[in-house]
């Protein structure tokens, strides 16, 4: 994932709909690169047919 600028991050933060203060946005912006790294690791290439571990049971209990 490409790094985001502060301006780009502020747009993402506004899209969340959360009432973030400037200090809270600063904190989240600082950790955002770590989050991006985690998201990239979790979504590393895998076979197209790889199924998620969630299964839908039509017989609802």
């Amino acid at each position: 994932m490409p790094p985001v600028t502060r301006e780009e991050f502020d747009i993402l933060a506004a899209q969340t709909g959360l009432p973030l203060s400037q200090a809270q946005k600063d904190t989240l912006f600082d950790v955002y690169p770590t989050l991006q790294k985690i998201l990239t690791t979790a979504a590393a290439p895998m076979p197209r047919e790889a199924e998620p571990s969630l299964i839908f049971y039509p017989e609802v209990r």
């Binding site: 993402l12 933060a13 969340t16 709909g17 959360l18 009432p19 973030l20 809270q24 904190t27 989240l28 950790v31 955002y32 770590t34 989050l35 790294k37 985690i38 998201l39 690791t41 979790a42 979504a43 590393a44 895998m46 790889a50 199924e51 998620p52 571990s53 969630l54 609802v60 209990r61």
Partner: protein, 463 residues
């Protein structure tokens, strides 16, 4: 009777009418009164309820109609377990005055087993995000040294068991919240297989990662508590509809013939642990060899992959749970929980689905690796408990969690104390078994505990 009996020893003494549940409960309440002002392990002590439970247990024992091995045993519940007519707060301002109308299934089961409920225990806010100093109650502190962290989120249970306030208690584990505090407080704690114990009536954090489980001084005590906790519950959609085995039946079988795989790269390369922790694990493997087990190393994917998958799933699901309150009562949360969960708002639906796809691949990897092993071994925590004021806010993301891999895969996993580090605080190892192979896990843990002397040392509390 010992000053601090285990559940197993207290149970035998109660059955033989050599120990009174009422006297045992009074001693526990007196100890809480004398020492918990320094440890903050309880959010609420339910003294009246405890004495009523104890008197009822004693009457049953004297009448020869005891409910079983847990009748008269003092316990307490993590404060995310709903308790009818008793405040359940998740240690949060948001639920400061929440009084449920019904017990969670596990609370019902332990009550039916005759346990004596002493109260509700501290937790990290909503079972994630501590230690926090901006909540209505202070964080629990480590009985081995109150300046130090308990880990969490089942912080109160870890502290209260180690301090001898209760003989066992409930925990919950979404990324390590039973095994972490068990490790740092020097007790035993098991995250059972996903689906073995009901989550119904327990405040959710992450639906596919949450596990309920017991914590106690010994492995044997955990097995006894799990017996009264496990089983199918139609009210929990993830509950496994399968027979519950006898968790204590294999305890005496020892470790002879067990095949043990050490995931060494997890704790030496992926998240290097302290020398005391590593030496503790190595010494434990020598103990197992001496008992007749075969020990070798096993390699899995880097722990960062398990951690990434678990973090995305946990944060996404927790954000979904809390989204309404985050939008309307954002600043009523403590800073740590609020900021960690807010990251979920920056994740996409594709991020979540990709993590769930990767999760299945990791489950398959562990299943295949365990074809040659009965037990896997790793660390539970990187070392002794750090000072409570030195825990980094983003510690949950900076280094891969040693416990998260088995929330991702759902395997049963347990923390077992392996001794003490340079600071005199406990260190420990993590044992992992195949899904629903808890009897094997208890067998391995009990064999180690009874071959070593670590269970003989308790923290010296200061009033």
């Amino acid at each position: 009777m010992d000053a601090f009996p285990t559940i197993a020893s207290a149970s035998k003494a109660i059955a033989a009418k050599k120990l009174s549940p009422v006297e045992l409960t009074k001693a526990s309440l007196a100890r809480i009164k004398a020492h918990d002002s320094a440890l903050h392990s309880f959010l609420l002590v339910t003294e009246e309820r405890a004495m009523a439970d104890a008197k009822a247990a004693e009457a049953r024992v004297m009448a020869g109609s005891a409910k079983g091995p847990l009748d008269g045993i003092p316990i307490a519940h993590k404060d995310i377990y709903n308790t009818a007519d008793i405040r359940t707060t998740a240690h949060s301002k948001l639920l400061e005055h929440n009084v449920p109308t019904a017990d969670s299934m596990v609370v019902k089961k332990w009550d039916a087993a005759g346990t004596v409920m002493l109260g509700k225990l501290a937790t990290h806010e909503f079972a994630m995000g501590g230690p926090s100093f901006d909540l209505p109650w202070p964080p629990a502190r480590n009985p081995w040294n109150p300046d130090h962290f308990t880990a969490g989120s089942s912080s109160g249970t870890g502290a209260a068991v180690a301090a001898g306030f209760i003989l066992g208690g409930t925990g919950s584990d979404t990324g390590g919240s039973i095994r972490g505090p068990a490790a740092l407080c020097g007790i035993a704690g098991i995250k059972p297989t996903y689906g073995l114990c009901s989550r119904a009536g327990v405040l959710p954090l992450s639906f596919t990662m949450d596990h309920t489980g017991p914590m106690a001084w010994t492995v044997e005590d955990c097995a006894m508590l799990l017996q009264a906790m496990a089983g199918y519950d139609p009210e929990d959609p993830a509950s496994a509809d399968r027979p519950v085995p006898n968790f204590t039946a294999d305890l005496a079988k020892g470790a002879k013939g067990l095949r043990i795989g050490v995931i060494r790269h997890f704790f030496e390369d992926d998240h290097p642990v302290s020398e005391a922790t590593r030496k503790g694990i190595d010494a434990a493997m020598d103990v197992y060899r001496g008992l007749g087990a075969e020990v070798s190393d096993v390699t899995l994917s880097p722990m960062s992959e398990y951690h990434a998958v678990g973090s995305v799933i946990l944060t996404s699901e927790a954000y979904a749970v809390h989204q309404p309150w985050l939008k309307t009562r954002f600043n009523d949360y403590g800073e740590l929980f609020r900021d960690r969960i807010a990251l979920g708002a920056f994740m996409s639906s594709a991020d979540y689905v990709q993590a769930m796809r990767r999760r299945r691949m990791l489950c398959i990897e562990v299943r295949d690796a365990m074809a040659d092993y009965d037990i896997l071994v790793s660390a539970s925590q990187p070392g002794e408990a750090p000072r409570i004021d030195s825990v980094p806010k983003w510690g949950n993301l900076e280094k891969p969690s040693l416990t998260m891999p088995f929330n991702v895969t759902g395997n049963p996993a347990m923390s077992v104390c392996t001794g003490y580090g340079e600071g005199g605080l406990p260190v420990c190892m993590q044992l992992i078994a195949r899904p629903f192979a808890e009897p094997m896990l208890f067998r391995a843990g009990h064999a180690y505990e009874t071959a070593t002397g670590w269970r003989g040392k308790r923290p010296a509390l200061v009033a």
